[in-house]
C-alpha cells in the first residue's frame, strides 16, 4: 500500500544561548492508511517535536513531508487548511485541550466552520461523531462546558473534535497518560475502533511501550533526536536489537508478581549525552560500547525484512 504520510530527513535545530540543539535529526518515516505507527522514547527524545513537525505546528529545519502524494512541507493558507482538515491531533491533557469558555457543541462546530463544511451537515456530523466516541445521547452533553466533564469524558470530546472533519490521519500524543486507569482502556478502544472502521492512519507518541504494543503494529524507537530502531512492534519487543530498546523493554513494569527485577542493561542517565555528537549518542550509557562507537555515528541499516537498527553491534539480533 502506498504511504499516506511520508517524512524524509526531518531535522529540527533549536538555538539556545548561542548553542545549537538538535532536537530531531534525520528522521524518516511513513504511515499507510489503516496502519498505526508508534514513536516511543523518553522525554527529550524528540518524539513530540517530530509529531508537531508532521502536523505543521512546528517548522522543520530541514527535510520533506509528503501527504497523499503532495509535498506539504511549506504548504500555507488554503493548502494548509486543507491539510489540517485531513490530519488531526489528539492532545495529552484533556483538561487543557478544550476552550474553557466554549460549550462542547461550540468546540465541535469550530472545525466544521473552519473547514467550510456546509451548515446543513453540522448536526448530523456532531451526532455521528458523538456516537463514535460513545457520548450518547449527544444532546445531553453538547451544551455543557469542559469543567462539567470528567477527564475521560473530556478526552472523548477531544477525540470527537479530531474525528469530526473526517481526517485520514490521527496523531495522538500520550492520549491517556493524564487519565485515570479505569478510563484509559475506553479511550484506547475508541481510538482503535475508529482506525479500524474508518481506515485511518494513526501515529501514536508515547513513553509507554505497553501502550504502543496495544495499539501499534509498527514502532520507531527514538533516542536523543535520532531513530535508533524500528520494526514490527511485537518483534521489536520480543527481540530488541538496539541496546537502548533492550533497556526500554526491560524497564516497563508488568502487572505480574513474577517478573524480572534484575538491574537494567543501561548506565547513567539521559543527561550523560556525549558532548561530542560525532559518534553514537548512546555510547556513554551502552553496556556493549566499542571503540568504534566514539568515532563513527551508526546509521540505520536493515537487519531483517522491515527491521532497521542504528547500532554497530554485529549480533544486534
Amino acid at each position: 500500500m502506498t504511504a499516506l504520510l511520508q517524512a524524509e530527513g526531518l531535522q529540527k535545530t533549536f538555538h539556545s544561548r548561542g548553542r545549537e540543539v538538535h532536537a530531531v535529526q534525520n528522521v524518516s518515516l511513513s504511515v499507510s492508511p489503516g496502519e498505526a505507527l508508534g514513536i516511543v522514547g523518553e522525554s527529550g527524545c524528540g518524539k513530540t517535536t517530530t509529531a508537531r513537525m508532521l502536523l505543521r505546528l512546528e517548522e522543520p529545519s530541514a527535510g520533506r513531508i509528503m501527504f497523499d502524494g503532495a509535498d506539504i512541507t511549506n504548504a500555507h493558507g488554503r493548502h494548509l487548511i486543507a491539510y489540517r482538515a485531513r490530519a488531526q491531533l489528539v492532545f495529552q491533557n484533556p483538561f487543557d485541550a478544550l476552550n474553557p469558555r466554549f460549550t462542547i457543541r461550540r468546540s465541535l462546530t469550530e472545525p466544521l466552520r473552519n473547514f467550510a463544511i456546509p451548515v446543513s451537515e453540522h448536526q448530523d456530523r456532531i451526532e455521528s461523531v458523538m456516537r463514535r466516541v460513545r457520548l450518547v445521547p449527544a444532546e445531553s452533553w453538547l451544551d455543557r462546558r469542559p469543567h462539567e466533564l470528567s477527564g475521560g469524558q473530556l478526552q472523548r470530546v477531544v477525540l470527537a473534535r479530531a474525528l469530526i472533519s473526517g481526517p485520514s490521519l490521527i496523531v495522538a500524543d500520550e492520549p491517556v497518560s493524564m487519565l485515570d486507569v479505569s478510563v484509559r482502556a475506553g479511550i484506547l478502544n475508541v481510538l482503535r475502533d475508529a482506525r479500524d472502521s474508518l481506515g485511518l492512519a494513526a501515529l501514536y507518541i508515547s513513553h509507554d511501550l505497553a501502550l504502543i504494543r496495544y495499539v501499534c503494529e509498527q514502532t520507531i524507537v527514538m533516542y536523543l533526536g535520532r531513530i535508533v530502531e524500528q520494526g514490527p512492534t511485537a518483534e521489536l519487543i520480543s527481540r530488541p536489537a538496539h541496546p537502548y530498546t533492550r533497556a526500554l523493554v526491560a524497564a516497563v513494569p508488568v502487572a505480574r508478581v513474577e517478573q524480572n527485577r534484575e538491574g537494567l542493561p543501561i548506565r547513567g542517565s539521559l543527561s550523560d549525552a556525549p558532548p561530542d555528537p560525532s559518534g553514537c549518542l548512546f555510547r556513554n550509557r551502552c553496556p556493549s560500547v566499542m571503540p568504534r562507537c566514539a568515532t563513527e555515528a551508526p546509521t540505520l541499516r536493515t537487519i531483517a525484512p522491515g527491521r532497521m537498527v542504528a547500532c554497530h553491534l554485529e549480533g544486534a539480533m
Binding site: E42, A185, G186, N189, R213, P253, V254, V257, L270, S271
Partner: protein, 336 residues
C-alpha cells in the same frame, strides 16, 4: 504487630456543598518492614489518607473519627507540636513532584543540613557527613550536594527528595505517586532505589499509586481503595493473582501488557460516586457487572478471605467464576 494501624478512620472536607467524607471508616494495617501499595483512581481518597497519616491535612479537612496507631501510640491524642516532632524523625513523606519537596532557591546541602541540624540535632560536621552518606545511599554523587534542584534531572530530583525523606531514619515513609511523573527507565531506577533502601534499612513504606504494574514490581502488600474505603487488601502476590473484588479484577484488565498481544483491554465504565451523597449499599455497585439487589442496599463488610486477604464484597465466594467473566469485555460493556 503492625507498625501502623488505622481503625475506622474518617476524614471530612468542608466544601461549598457541605462536608464530604473523602475517607470513610477506613481500616488499614502496615506491618513493619514492608512496602504497601495503596492503589486507586484519582478522587478515591488515597492522597487524603496519606495527608491524614502525616498530619498535614489542608485547613478545610479534618479527621472526624477513628484512630491512627503508630508504633503503639494513638496519634489522635498527640498535640500539634508532638505531631510535628514525629514528622521527618519517625515518618517522612515523598511527594509526586520532587519540586514540591525541594526548595528551588537553596542548595541541596543547605536543605539537608536544615533538616539534620534543626530537626535531628546533629552538629554541622555530622550533618555534612550524613548528607554525603544519604546521597550515596540513593545513588547520587555526594559532590552534587552543592547543586541547586534545577540543575538536576527529574529522576535525580526524586532521588534527592528520597534522601531528604530518609535523613532522620524514619520508620515509615509515605510516597505519593513517587514515579508517576518519570520516564520509564528512570521510574524503574527510582523504584529500585526504594526497594533496596526498604530492604537495607528495614523501612516500612506506603506507596500511593494508580498503577498495578508498579505495585506488582515493588510492593509486598497492596490495599485497593475505592470511594474513600479499602475494598481489598492483602499480600500483593495473592491480590494480583487471585483478586476477590470486581474492582480489583477490573484494574488488572485495564492495563496493556508489554509482553502480551492482548486482544482487548477492559475499561471500567462509569465513574466513582459523588461522596456528598454516597450510595447506601456497596459503593462500587453502580459500576459492577455482578451487582445485585443486596449490593445496592447493604454495604458489604470487610471480611477475611484466605490467609492475610481482606475483601469487602458480597460475592467474594464466587470470585473464581467472576474472575473468568471479568476478563471478558462484554461483561463490563453491559454497564455502559
Amino acid at each position: 504487630m503492625s507498625l501502623l494501624s488505622v481503625r475506622d478512620l474518617t476524614v471530612t472536607y468542608d466544601t461549598q456543598r457541605g462536608p464530604v467524607r473523602a475517607v470513610d471508616g477506613l481500616d488499614l494495617d502496615v506491618p513493619a518492614g514492608s512496602i504497601t501499595g495503596l492503589v486507586g483512581e484519582s478522587g478515591c481518597g488515597k492522597s487524603t489518607l496519606g495527608r491524614a497519616l502525616m498530619g498535614v491535612l489542608p485547613d478545610r479537612g479534618k479527621i472526624a473519627a477513628g484512630e491512627v496507631i503508630f508504633e503503639g501510640q494513638d496519634l489522635q491524642t498527640f498535640s500539634a507540636s508532638a505531631r510535628r516532632a514525629l514528622r521527618w524523625r519517625r515518618m517522612a513523606f515523598i511527594p509526586q513532584t520532587a519540586m514540591n519537596a525541594l526548595d528551588p532557591v537553596q542548595r541541596l546541602s543547605a536543605q539537608m543540613a536544615e533538616i539534620l541540624i534543626e530537626r535531628g540535632g546533629l552538629s554541622g560536621r555530622e550533618a555534612t557527613a550524613r548528607s554525603s552518606e544519604l546521597f550515596r545511599l540513593v545513588g547520587l554523587d555526594p559532590a552534587r550536594l552543592a547543586a541547586y534542584p534545577h540543575h538536576f534531572s527529574g529522576g535525580m530530583r526524586q532521588r534527592a527528595s528520597i534522601a531528604l525523606a530518609l535523613a532522620l531514619n524514619p520508620s515509615l515513609v509515605i510516597a505519593d505517586e513517587p514515579v508517576t511523573a518519570l520516564d520509564v527507565i528512570v521510574q524503574r531506577q527510582v523504584l529500585d532505589v526504594l526497594r533496596e533502601l526498604q530492604a537495607r534499612l528495614q523501612l516500612s513504606m506506603i506507596l500511593v499509586t494508580h498503577d498495578m504494574a508498579v505495585v506488582a514490581y515493588a510492593c509486598d502488600r497492596v490495599a485497593v481503595m475505592y470511594a474513600g474505603q479499602i475494598v481489598e487488601a492483602g499480600l500483593a502476590a495473592e491480590v494480583l493473582e487471585r483478586p476477590l473484588h470486581p474492582y480489583t479484577m477490573g484494574l488488572t484488565h485495564a492495563f496493556p501488557d508489554v509482553h502480551d498481544s492482548q486482544m482487548s483491554l477492559v475499561p471500567i465504565e462509569g465513574s466513582p460516586p459523588d461522596l456528598h451523597t454516597p450510595p447506601p449499599g456497596c459503593r462500587f455497585a453502580a459500576r459492577c457487572p455482578f451487582a445485585d439487589a443486596r449490593c445496592n442496599n447493604e454495604p458489604p463488610p470487610s471480611r477475611p478471605f484466605g490467609p492475610d486477604h481482606l475483601v469487602a464484597c458480597w460475592h467474594a465466594e464466587d470470585a473464581t467464576t467472576l474472575r473468568g467473566r471479568a476478563a471478558d469485555p462484554q461483561t463490563w460493556a453491559a454497564i455502559a
